[in-house]
Symmetry: C2
Subunit: 348 residues, 2 copies
C-alpha cells in the first residue's frame, strides 16, 4: 500500500537503517551515520515516493508520534472547549495531532488518562489544573515520563514541572475594588462554588478589605444542570431566592460567566431593577457580544490567546530541548470595565 522504509532502501540500494537514520530527526544521535551525499539521495527518493512514516511503528519502536495529549476540564460555557481547540490548532502548525480528554479535575481520571496516553505513544501532554488538586506525586511522576509535559494551573505547583500560572484571582480582586470605588455596599457573587472556590474567597476577602458588607449570604450558589443551561439555572436560582417579592438585597453582582450575567440582567430588568443604577453587574470571560448589550456588559478578560501562545512556546521548546530547566510563566486575567459595572465615584 503505502511506501515504507523498506521500499526506499530497495530503490536506494542501502540498508533500512541507513534510510531510517537519514530521514529521522535524531540526526547524529545514534551511532549510525550516513554520508551527506547518500543522505541527500535517500531524502530525495523518499520525497519522490511520497514516503510518510507509519506513526504506530515509529511509536512502538521508541520514536516520536507527533501527538499531543490535552487533559482539560471541559465544563460550563465554551471557553475551555475553545481553549482546547486553540491548542489543537497551534499543534497542527507544528505537524502534531492532538487527543483531547476531559479529566473533570479528577485525580483518578487524570491518572487513567495519562497511562492511556502513554500506551498511545503521546509525546507531550498539556494539563489543566485548578487549585493544585492534581499536584500528587503519582501524577507528577507520570508527567515526567513524557518527553514534554506542561501544567496550566490557577496556582503554582511546588513540584518541578513546566508550568503556566494562569491567574484569575487578581482580576477578582480588581472587580471587588471596582465595586467599592463605585460606591457599592452589598456585593454578591454568583456561580458554582465547587468550580470557583478560590475566586469566591478572593472576591469576598477583597470586598471585606474594602469595607463592603459580605458574609455567607453573599454567595449565590448555582447548581448547573448541564451544558447550555446557564441561563435557566441562573434565573431559576434567582427566582428561588427572591421569588416571593423578597427585596433585592444587593447592589453589585459578580457572575462567574457572561451568560449568567446576561440572564441575571434580564431577570432583574423584568423585576424592575435597573442596571447599573440599582445593581452593578460584572460577568466573566469577556464574550465578544458583551459590547452589544444594553448596557454594555463589564467582564473579565481571560487572556486565553496569550496562554495559548505560551503553551505553544514552552511545549514545543521542551520537545526539542529536554535538558532545559523547568519553565515558569505568569499570565493574568483582567477586569474590563463597561457600563453595567457602574461608574467609579471619583471619576464621576
Amino acid at each position: 500500500m503505502a511506501t515504507t522504509i523498506q521500499d526506499i532502501a530497495r530503490v536506494a540500494k542501502v540498508s533500512r537503517s541507513a534510510v531510517s537514520v537519514s530521514l529521522g530527526s535524531h540526526n547524529g544521535r545514534s551511532g549510525t551515520r550516513v554520508s551527506e551525499s547518500t543522505r541527500l539521495r535517500i531524502k530525495e527518493i523518499a520525497q519522490n515516493l511520497g514516503y510518510q512514516p507509519n506513526v504506530m511503528a515509529k511509536g512502538l519502536a521508541g520514536g516520536r508520534t507527533s501527538t499531543i495529549g490535552i487533559l482539560w476540564s471541559l465544563s460550563g460555557p465554551h471557553p475551555s472547549v475553545e481553549m482546547a481547540h486553540n491548542i489543537s490548532l497551534k499543534s497542527h502548525r507544528h505537524g502534531y495531532v492532538t487527543q483531547l480528554v476531559n479529566h473533570m479535575s479528577d485525580q483518578a481520571v487524570t491518572i487513567k488518562s495519562l497511562r492511556e496516553f502513554k500506551r498511545r505513544g503521546v509525546d507531550g501532554v498539556v494539563i489543566q489544573d485548578i487549585n493544585c488538586v492534581l499536584e500528587k506525586p503519582e501524577i507528577v511522576d507520570l508527567l515526567n515520563e513524557f518527553p514534554a509535559a506542561l501544567v496550566v494551573g490557577s496556582s503554582v505547583w511546588k513540584a518541578p514541572v513546566d508550568l503556566i500560572h494562569h491567574d484569575r484571582l487578581a482580576a477578582c480582586k480588581e472587580v471587588a475594588d471596582h465595586f467599592a470605588a463605585a460606591g457599592r455596599r452589598r456585593p454578591v457573587i454568583m456561580g458554582s462554588s465547587m468550580a470557583n472556590n478560590e475566586k469566591v474567597r478572593a472576591f469576598m476577602e477583597r470586598a471585606s478589605m474594602n469595607s463592603m458588607s459580605v458574609g455567607p449570604d453573599s454567595l449565590i450558589e448555582v447548581q448547573y444542570l448541564s451544558h447550555n443551561q446557564t441561563v435557566k439555572a441562573c434565573q431559576w436560582t434567582l427566582k428561588e431566592r427572591y421569588g416571593k417579592d423578597k427585596a433585592i438585597d444587593f447592589d453589585a453582582l459578580f457572575c462567574m460567566s457572561d451568560e449568567g450575567a446576561m440572564a441575571s440582567i434580564d431577570w432583574l430588568r423584568k423585576r424592575g431593577v435597573r442596571v447599573p443604577q440599582d445593581v452593578a453587574v460584572i460577568g466573566f470571560n469577556d464574550n465578544e457580544i458583551d459590547d452589544c448589550m444594553d448596557p454594555p456588559l463589564a467582564s473579565v478578560e481571560r487572556n486565553d490567546d496569550q496562554v495559548a501562545d505560551v503553551i505553544d512556546e514552552i511545549l514545543f521548546t521542551r520537545l526539542i530541548h529536554p535538558e532545559l530547566p523547568p519553565q515558569r510563566r505568569y499570565v493574568s486575567m483582567r477586569f474590563v470595565w463597561r457600563e453595567s459595572a457602574g461608574r467609579r465615584r471619583d471619576t464621576g
Copy 2:
C-alpha cells in the same frame, strides 16, 4: 514497565497467541480458539495484572486502535467546535479517543488528513461536508478504507457511504416564510456568502416566491477577520454600507449567526431603528442567551445534539457490523420564533 501479553502468557503458562485470542474482541474469528475455562482464567490474570494493551502494537499488527478521527470545518462562531467536542464526548463513552482536524472544507487538506489518519491506525472517521464539495472519487475511496466512515453533510451524497443529511435549507425557507407572514417587503441576509452560499440562495428564492423584493443587493456580505471578530466585522460592514446617513433600505434581517444579529441590533438601536417594529431580525444557532435579549432574539436551532446522537449510533454500529448496507439519516434545523422576528400579521 507496563504489563504485556507476554507477562500474562508466562503467568498463565500458555502461549502469547492464546492470550491475544482470549482478550481480543475478535472472539471466534481467527482459527485459534481457547477453551472457555482457560479463557476465563486468562482474563482474570490479565485483570489482576492490570493489563492494558499497547495501542500502537495493536494497530501495527492490524488490530483496532479505538481511535476516531474527526474532520470538521472549524471556523466562525462556536457551534462547530462544540459539535466536535460533543462527538469526542460520546466516543469516550465507548472507550474511544478522538483526533480532531480542521479540514476547512478543502479537498487537498481532507485527502492529506485521511492518509494521516490511516498511518495512525484510526478506526473510524466522521467528516463534515458542505454542499458536496468533498464528494470526489478519491475521497470516497479513502473513506471506504476505514472500518467506519460517516459523512455529515448539508446535502446528500450519491456515493454509497454512511451519511447524515443535516438540512439547513428548510429552516432558511421557514425564515423567509415568516418574514412574509409578518408583512415584510424588503428582506436582507447577512453573512459570508462563501460559507453560506446555499443558505443565501434558498432564502432568496423563497423570499422571491413569497413576493418579497430581493435582488443582488439583498445580500450583505461580511468578510470575517478572524475568530471572535463577528461583532466587529458586522458592525463595520453595516457602517460601510449605511454610514453616510444612507437610509436603512430593509425591513427584515436574517443573520448567519446570533452574534451577528446581536451586533446588528445594537448598531440599529444606535441609529434609532427599532427592532422589530422597523426591522425584524433573526439570527442563527439559537444561542441560549437569545432569550435574555431585549427583545428576545429569534433564531435557527441547529439540532446539533440530535445529530451527535445519530453520529454516535451509526458510527459505533458500523464499527461492529461492517456488513450492513450504507445508512442514511435526516436531521433538520428549525426556525425558533421570538419577538425580534416580528409578529405574523394573521395572528395579530
